[in-house]
């Protein structure tokens, strides 16, 4: 324990374990219908998600999430570039974009249900559309904040337009694009759950809400647990990707801080 690194590691790993143990023992004999024993929750978790509904619900939800997010990412970056580089386009759609962005994404779900129905199509569309704006706006901001010095370098060395976009603007805006994508991913996850809760009988969100509405609290807890784990894992995966793509940025930030 004398070594601070080891001590910190022990504290870091120990606290969550301790919390879980406390939860386990405090809830062990619980008869409160809303707070079932952790053991029951874990048993139901395993029964519900690991086999029975894995394909029909878990994979379905995740598939929608990734499809919607991917569409939003591609469209968001493309629209962001178009908006930032072609001023008339920017002037034309800026107010609309800002207005649409002001709408809580979940509030759009009822509208999509009424327009497209309730199937997978609706869910993916809701996810894609709601997740579009953060990426798009971050892309525009990223491009606009590319330092003039870099653009001057590009001019002095007479880069072509394509070189300027590919070799200067895109990498320089990448950190902001990625923070936009991260927000988009969060939004996509929220809308995934909301679209299932509002308009579907399949998916993790639907199952969890259903469990709540039929007072199967252990099932509901299991659903919450699964959603929490998915939210966490998706974020971790994204962070890994980000760390890979933006290693230069993270490194330079760390360097600037340490200096």
């Amino acid at each position: 324990m004398r070594n601070p690194a080891i001590r910190n590691w022990v504290i870091g790993a120990g606290t969550p374990v301790l919390l879980l143990i406390i939860w386990w023992f405090l809830s062990a004999d619980s008869t409160d219908p809303f707070f079932p024993p952790l053991e029951t929750i874990l048993v139901r978790f395993q029964e519900l998600w690991l086999f029975e509904h894995f394909q029909s619900d878990v994979l379905l939800s995740l598939g929608n999430l990734f499809l919607g997010f991917a569409m939003a990412a591609v469209a968001g970056v493309a629209l962001g570039f178009a908006t930032a580089l072609v001023p008339p386009v920017r002037w034309m759609i800026d107010p609309l974009i800002h207005f649409l962005r002001g709408i809580p994404p979940v509030a759009l779900v009822p509208i999509f249900i009424s327009l497209i129905g309730f199937g997978t199509q609706m869910r993916v569309t809701s996810i894609a559309l709601a997740a579009l704006f953060p990426t798009m706006i971050a892309t525009v901001d990223g491009i606009r904040s590319v330092s003039n010095d870099l653009l001057d370098v590009a001019k002095v060395y007479r880069f072509s337009r394509k070189e300027r976009v590919v070799n200067v603007l895109l990498p320089a805006a990448m950190p902001q694009i990625f923070s936009g994508l991260q927000v988009s991913l969060q939004v996509a996850f929220i809308v995934m759950i909301a679209s299932e809760m509002l308009g579907s009988s399949q998916g993790i969100g639907a199952m969890t809400l259903l469990a709540q509405q039929s007072f199967m609290t252990a099932d509901m807890w299991a659903g919450i647990l699964l959603l929490g784990v998915i939210g966490f894992l998706v974020n971790v995966l994204f962070s890994l990707l980000k760390r890979k793509v933006l290693s230069w940025y993270i490194g330079s930030r760390r360097m600037a801080r340490a200096a």
Binding site: V153, K155, R158, N167, Y249, G251, S252
Partner: protein, 284 residues
């Protein structure tokens, strides 16, 4: 870390850029760089702000000219006009008689904010290669240019590092190496040695004189260091504020192979620097 390992001939050939340009183009009477009654005003209307008003001087081919002047006088602005980044508001800047209207291909510029002019997502080598891409050089020449430019600034070992992994002085040298790898005929540098230590600075100053000699490059350097200006230059342009104007162009008559220790201890050196110094010290 030190520049002293630089090979004897850092930039052995520049045929690819030279070949495209006939040697005859420079007549004896046209100066290489000609700044005539140049004026530059930022903004327009109410908010306009005249930084340069009626600036005139010339730089001959193969000359090293230093520009000194107080901070904020407009030195960087002047260089940006010369590099074709800002249009002049009136008057003109010309290369070989051609008015500069966009970045001239035979010129390279080392920016004052070296750390903001390097692409942080590229390694040192890739930073050097980036401006060369559209020259469509063979891979071997690309490599050779990078290697010799990095060797010239003493950074051969750092070619795979990212700029932000280097110290300020090393970043500065990368920016200089990028300009060298481009093999310009005219090299313009904005306070290029501001953040390097004394020893490296001496080495870079000597490198500067060496490339001038080896390639007959025309070099224009902005500096705050009067000793450096006198040591480097054939002529020193002293600017006064504001708006910027030429206080005097001081001709430096120091013997040709200059040396950090002997040249700087010449009485003539002391006289020249005192002249520039008193121009600067005199209330503008």
């Amino acid at each position: 870390m030190s520049v002293r390992q630089a090979p004897s001939l850092p930039i052995p050939n520049r045929k690819s850029t030279m070949a495209q340009q006939p040697e005859t183009r420079i007549s004896a009477t046209t100066p290489r760089l000609d700044v005539a009654h140049l004026a530059k005003t930022y903004g327009s209307g109410e908010k306009s702000h005249t930084v340069i008003e009626d600036l005139t001087f010339t730089v001959d081919a193969g000359e090293v000219v230093c520009i000194v002047g107080p901070s904020g006088v407009g030195k960087t602005t002047l260089l940006k006009c010369l590099a074709g980044l800002h249009p002049a508001s009136s008057g003109r800047a010309a290369i070989d008689g051609r008015t500069i209207s966009g970045p001239p291909p035979e010129m390279a510029l080392v920016f004052q904010d070296y750390n903001r002019s390097l692409m942080p997502w590229l390694t040192v080598r890739k930073n050097l290669i980036l401006p060369l891409r559209h020259l469509k050089l063979p891979a071997a020449e690309l490599k050779e240019r990078c290697d010799s430019a990095l060797a010239a600034v003493g950074l051969s070992h750092a070619h795979n590092q990212y700029p932000w992994q280097l110290s300020g002085g090393m970043q500065q040298r990368v920016a200089i190496a990028r300009a060298l790898a481009y093999r310009p005929e005219i090299l313009i540098m904005d306070e290029p040695f501001a953040s390097v230590d004394a020893q490296t600075r001496f080495d870079l100053e000597d490198l500067c004189l060496k490339i001038r000699k080896d390639f007959n490059m025309t070099i224009l350097v902005v500096t705050h260091d009067i000793d450096e200006a006198v040591y480097l230059a054939d002529r020193v342009v002293v600017l006064g504020s504001r708006p910027a104007r030429v206080l005097k162009v001081v001709d430096v008559d120091l013997p040709a192979p200059r040396d950090q220790i002997t040249t700087r201890s010449l009485p003539e050196f002391a006289r020249q620097r005192t002249e520039v110094l008193s121009l600067i010290k005199r209330p503008a």
